[in-house]
């Protein structure tokens, strides 16, 4: 931990990121990383459109033999909703399958948005409903594990389903993700750990879970790192990085064209996500994810630093609403609010406190680097 407080002179990242460093101008390593590395693969300009046209042409060519060319995820949030709209209008010949994961927390807003997107854009939808009794057990296990990343059960299920449905069932080669640099170029490594680590997920469930995961899908290291990318040649592409993606503008468009309704804050499509991002993380782990999101927006030129600071003036959660939200979450997880509060008070842990594929992952990425160097020789 840094001994004194410091905030970046360009964005709003600060020493709540334990690994942050600053240069002589007081600019943080994240800003520098965006300028020096990310900018090279980020094209919010006509060059991006030219590249995207080529990428889509390739996707369509590769998709010839199947029912769909590509798969997208739909949560009902801004990024994925806008991506669906953009792809449909710019590339009407692209045959898209949308996948939605119902992890048991869907709000009416989320299902309304998804329904309108798929109906108005004529996109075929596949929903994977995770068995709630299992999901509940896994989520409780995660809360009890005292790890920061409470979104892992949902995120892991999304990718496991993506592989199973898109690749194994439909033979699709491309996943077009709504992920983008415009709103998430900055995310400190210390604030998250790989949701894809099935070994960690199963270890946590084994230790804190109470029922067997009979239907919950996981995807192991070998399948994720070798089988799908190299044998099945499944690729992820982020079209919004080849597009002048402006979040406010995007919202305005989907509200008008898709009867889309706003959630308020980013990623608050469910009360659980809201609880986790705006209460669990700041209260328990001392960091506010809005900081990374706002910093990304500053770097993308979609917000001024002062505007971001004004947003951060407001507490991350609404003190008047949090009690009823906790009550809702506790009831849904079949525990009492006292139990939930007791969980909040336990000491925090990191991913290193549980078995994981971290070491394997490190060795694998070193091996990949070695191979690519050897090939260049």
């Amino acid at each position: 931990m840094k001994t004194h407080y410091q905030i970046c002179s360009h964005c709003v990242m600060d020493t709540t990121d334990p690994d942050i460093t600053f240069d002589e101008q007081g600019v943080c390593n994240h800003c520098r990383h965006v300028e020096n590395v990310i900018r090279k693969s980020w094209f919010p300009n006509p060059e991006g459109k030219r590249r995207l046209d080529q990428i889509v042409a390739r996707i369509i060519e590769d998709g010839k033999s199947g029912e769909y060319d590509c798969v997208i995820g739909l949560s009902g949030g801004v990024d994925s909703s806008y991506l669906a709209y953009m792809l449909r209008t710019e590339y009407p010949q692209l045959r898209i399958l949308a996948i939605h994961i119902d992890g048991g927390w869907n709000s009416e807003l989320a299902v309304h948005n998804i329904e309108h997107i798929v109906k108005r854009l004529s996109i075929d939808l596949h929903t994977e409903v995770i068995n709630w009794e299992e999901m509940k057990d896994l989520q409780l296990a995660y809360l009890k594990s005292q790890l920061a990343n409470q979104d892992v059960p949902q995120d892991h299920a999304f990718f496991a389903t993506l592989y199973k449905v898109a690749v194994d069932h439909f033979g699709i080669r491309y996943f077009l993700s709504g992920g983008n640099y415009a709103t998430e170029s900055i995310l400190p490594a210390a604030w998250g750990y790989n949701a894809m680590d099935a070994k960690q997920l199963l270890a946590i469930h084994k230790r804190f879970g109470t029922i067997r995961l009979k239907t919950y899908e996981t995807v192991g290291f070998f399948k994720r790192k070798i089988y799908y990318p190299y044998i099945k040649k499944f690729k992820m592409i982020r079209p919004l990085n080849f597009w002048p993606y402006d979040k406010e503008e995007a919202k305005r468009i989907i509200v008008e064209k898709l009867d889309w309704r706003d959630y308020g804050d980013k990623h608050h499509e469910s009360i659980f996500t809201k609880f986790f991002q705006s209460y669990w993380l700041p209260e328990k782990f001392g960091y506010d994810k809005r900081r990374a999101h706002l910093s990304s927006m500053i770097v993308a030129g979609q917000m001024t630093r002062q505007e971001a600071l004004n947003v951060l003036e407001k507490p991350p959660y609404n003190a008047g609403e949090i009690e009823s939200e906790k009550e809702f979450i506790a009831k849904k997880l079949s525990i009492s609010v006292e139990e939930l509060n007791a969980i909040m008070l336990q000491p925090n842990k990191t991913f290193r406190d549980y078995p994981s594929d971290y070491a394997l992952e490190q060795r694998f990425s070193r091996l990949k680097q070695y191979i690519s160097k050897w090939r260049q020789r």
Binding site: E108, D124, V129, W132
Partner: protein, 256 residues
Amino acid sequence: MLRTRVIPVLLLHNKGLVKTVRFKDPKYVGDPINAIRIFNEKEVDELIFLDIDASKEHREPDYALIESFASECFMPVCYGGGITNVEQIRKVFSLGIEKVALNSSALRDKDLIREASQLFGAQSIIVAVDVKRNLWGRYQIYRHADKGVQKGDLLAYLREVEALGAGEVFLNSVDMDGMQKGYDMTLLQTVRDVISVPVIVCGGAGQLSDFKAAKELGGASAVAAGSFFVFQGKHRAVLITYPKYEELEKLFGEQP
């Protein structure tokens, strides 16, 4: 509220919600509590919950489960499954349920219909009947609990339950269940001709016009459906939906 009620039917199986096709292959569609929260916000008229395991397993209603969802529902709720006596009905009502559906027990114990209707009022007692065509196209009463066929004439049975005090008849077609190709209109009209208590038709609704047909051509008092409210598109993707109030008003020609 619309005069023609439009009612989602939710099937309970292993504490979760499922949807069947012709009473087979239950597909998991989610957790009842979350579905209720979404239906609440969509301002649904009424909900019917049917526990499809209870009678099969010869057990009572799962009161804890009923209580957990009854307390969440903003709309009137009908519960069916495993009820065999008036004490159980009393208990179910005490948990906040407005109506009960009697199916297996109504076939076995005619007195239960009479007794329940006298005690609680006809408006809260629904007799549910599952109808299946035999090889010759004749309508027969199907027993979901033991997958058997009840001896005796369907129409005679319905006349009898009406006389015993059933407030409504829930008429469900096994052959059309989950098919989304429209209601069995012949069945509906045939039944409609012989009884005068309100009929809730179920089994086969695939689009809004099916509701309209059931009301106008079939004389249904209420229209119920499962798949229509939980599946979307050709992959039958689970996604809860419910028509907007104005849409239904227009559909039924019930402009204020």
